[in-house]
């Protein structure tokens, strides 16, 4: 992959090609979103180890593994692997395409980063199986969501929307940008917490909501934990719960409340400072809607005793919440960038300014 070339003659730029690249980036982001869903189903069904080998599947080349054998947990794990190869291939094509056609050096490097990340993600997933390391599963979950945010950013940067907002040159007040950035970081931390919880493979460490075992803060003494374990009847092969896992879920709940308050403040401030018709204000209210749905799904995950589809929807809406915050920040910081007018144009797709390096 040759990424050193960062100039492009005007004659090589053609708008249909730009649109094709943009839509391919969007398609890759959508495929990544579906892959997140497939991965979420694997963990939700406790099927991560159902195919014991990697990269083979029960000794078969993974592409030749007979569909008649895709039963039970194997279906979720194997289709996740196959779909991951599709996303890996699409990401590789996208990276090459960016290096080849996009004049912006930083976009080329974003393509390279995406390629490296998708490779690392595949290896992480494989090692998680081969080494039986739950911790790698948690990292795999976080990297997957980070990768999705990156793919959405690439889709944004290659589109006309990005050029249009750059041309607006409307400043977004610094405190608002900082507030949204901090909220997005908070969501990312929440995502790490969630991924860690799922990688514990312990089911619901607290099975009541909004109370926690009938209290605001649950008893985490050893005798209480023993009592919780004695009372719960597991229908899947989850581990016993520990005090650490109970506390982890409580922290997850507190973070959720903090994020909700923070996003409400962001939306109100955006409305106040940018006006209701501003794209970023609308985006902020969309974000608030997502967070509200996400909290509802979190509660539903508990009330449904962690039904696989509900828990997976919780993962997906979490990913969308992260991406929404991240894109809001990118748009706000991009719009407010104090750059010369000539270089501002370079934010547009396909580097209409060859000198932007």
């Amino acid at each position: 992959m040759k990424c050193g070339r960062n100039e492009m003659n005007e004659s090589t730029i053609n708008r249909p090609g730009a649109r094709a690249l943009h839509w391919f980036a969007v398609l890759t982001a959508v495929a990544t979103f579906l892959l997140l869903g497939a991965g979420g189903l694997v963990t939700s069904h406790e099927a991560g180890m159902s195919v014991p080998d990697w990269p083979n599947s029960y000794g078969y080349n993974m592409f030749l593994f007979p569909p008649s054998q895709w039963m039970g947990g194997i279906f979720y794990e194997h289709t996740h692997r196959l779909w991951a190869t599709v996303v890996g291939l699409m990401t590789t094509i996208l990276a090459v395409w960016l290096c080849w056609k996009d004049a912006r050096r930083w976009m080329k490097w974003l393509g390279v980063l995406a390629f490296l990340l998708v490779v690392a993600q595949g290896v992480l997933g494989g090692l998680r199986v081969v080494l039986k390391m739950d911790n790698l599963g948690a990292i795999h979950g976080v990297v997957g969501q980070t990768f999705f945010a990156l793919m959405c950013a690439i889709a944004l940067f290659t589109g006309g929307f990005w050029r249009a907002i750059s041309e607006q040159k409307l400043n977004v007040p610094g405190p608002l940008r900082t507030m949204v950035l901090m909220t997005t970081i908070l969501i990312f931390c929440q995502l790490i917490l969630g991924s860690t919880m799922r990688a514990q493979h312990a089911g619901l460490s607290i099975n009541t909501f909004p109370s926690a075992y009938g209290k605001i803060w649950p008893d985490t003494r050893p005798e209480a934990i023993a009592r919780y374990n004695a009372q719960r009847i597991e229908v899947t092969n989850v581990n016993d719960i520990t005090a650490f896992q109970v506390i982890l879920q409580m922290v997850h709940r507190i973070f959720a409340l903090g994020i909700l308050i923070s996003v409400i403040l962001c939306a109100v401030q955006a409305w106040r400072l940018l006006g209701i018709r501003d794209t970023l204000t609308k985006f902020a209210f969309f974000w608030l809607g997502l967070i509200t749905v996400q909290i509802g799904l979190g509660a539903a995950t508990i009330w449904s005793n962690k039904a696989a589809d509900v828990a997976t929807a919780h993962v997906l809406v979490g990913a969308l919440s992260l991406v929404t915050g991240a894109l809001w920040c990118i748009i706000a910081f991009g719009r407010s960038a104090r750059v010369p007018a000539a270089q501002t144009e370079a934010f547009g797709a396909f580097g209409t300014l060859a000198g932007n390096k």
Partner: protein
């Protein structure tokens, strides 16, 4: 002559009595007992996922349920692992006869593990069988006791994860270290799980559906008798074994 014969008779009788007494004093005895449960355990849950599975569901008319609490009409508690520690409460090690003991079988039948609670010795062969017409994977999850500098978990026993095709050959495992409730699970069918306890001695038993257990051939001495249930935790009693069988009962309570 008569006197001589009488003397020999007395001598042989005394010798016989001495030998018998000595044998009797060092004779191993059994520890027997019964385990009961007081209180009402949580209701077991039907395996709805099993019934929804196209292969496994065909094997049942009604959904089998979980069986964490195997309780009889009068509170007899089954599936309790009863074993011995020394008088100080330490594990009894180095006494395994597992290498010469017959293999223990863990069967995958009807998309469930049979039995769900089992025990065997270090070095004893555990045979895992697939009696079903579908794939299972045998995922052995041992207790994590530390981590390598690279973050890889160090486990009490070697972990396994092996696929087993329908009609495939039995798997044979041995485990080197004692471990309570070593977990076996199938990730293809996530409702399948079993727990095995590994002991470095032959002094253990699993209570039956009638709540009764027998630990055979225990050498004389003082011990700590432990009863461990997956959900209800552990109870201990001090026990002294001499030349007669000893009876010790346990009562667990649902809290």
């Amino acid at each position: 002559m008569i006197n001589f014969l009488a003397t020999v008779n007395v001598f042989s009788s005394a010798l016989l009595i001495g030998v018998l007494t000595a044998t009797s004093l060092s004779r191993a005895a059994d520890i027997i007992g019964a385990i009961t449960l007081t209180g009402t355990p949580p209701a077991e849950i039907p395996y709805t996922q099993l019934m929804e599975d196209s292969t496994c569901g065909q094997m049942y008319d009604t959904a089998p349920t979980t069986h964490f609490y195997v309780v009889g009409k009068n509170g007899e508690l089954g599936d309790v692992t009863v074993y011995l520690k020394d008088a100080s409460g330490n594990d009894i090690t180095g006494k395994s006869t597992g290498a010469s003991a017959p293999a223990v079988v863990l069967d995958q039948k009807g998309c469930l593990y049979t039995p769900q609670i089992l025990a065997f010795q270090t070095g004893q062969t555990l045979t895992i069988r697939n009696s079903d017409q579908c794939i299972h994977n045998v995922d052995v999850v041992s207790k994590v006791i530390g981590h390598t500098p690279e973050g890889k978990p160090i486990t009490q026993n070697t972990q396994h994860n092996d696929g087993q095709m329908p009609g495939g050959a039995d798997l044979h495992y041995t485990f080197d270290k004692p471990e309570m409730f070593l977990k076996f699970q199938c990730d293809v069918h996530p409702w399948m799980f079993a727990w095995a306890s590994v002991f470095d001695n032959p002094y253990f038993a699993i209570s039956g559906a009638d709540g009764k257990f027998v630990i055979k051939n225990v050498p004389p001495g003082k011990y700590t008798l432990v009863a461990a249930h997956r959900k209800l935790g552990e109870q201990t009693q001090t026990v002294e074994v001499a030349d007669k069988d000893v009876t010790e009962n346990f009562t667990f309570a649902v809290k």
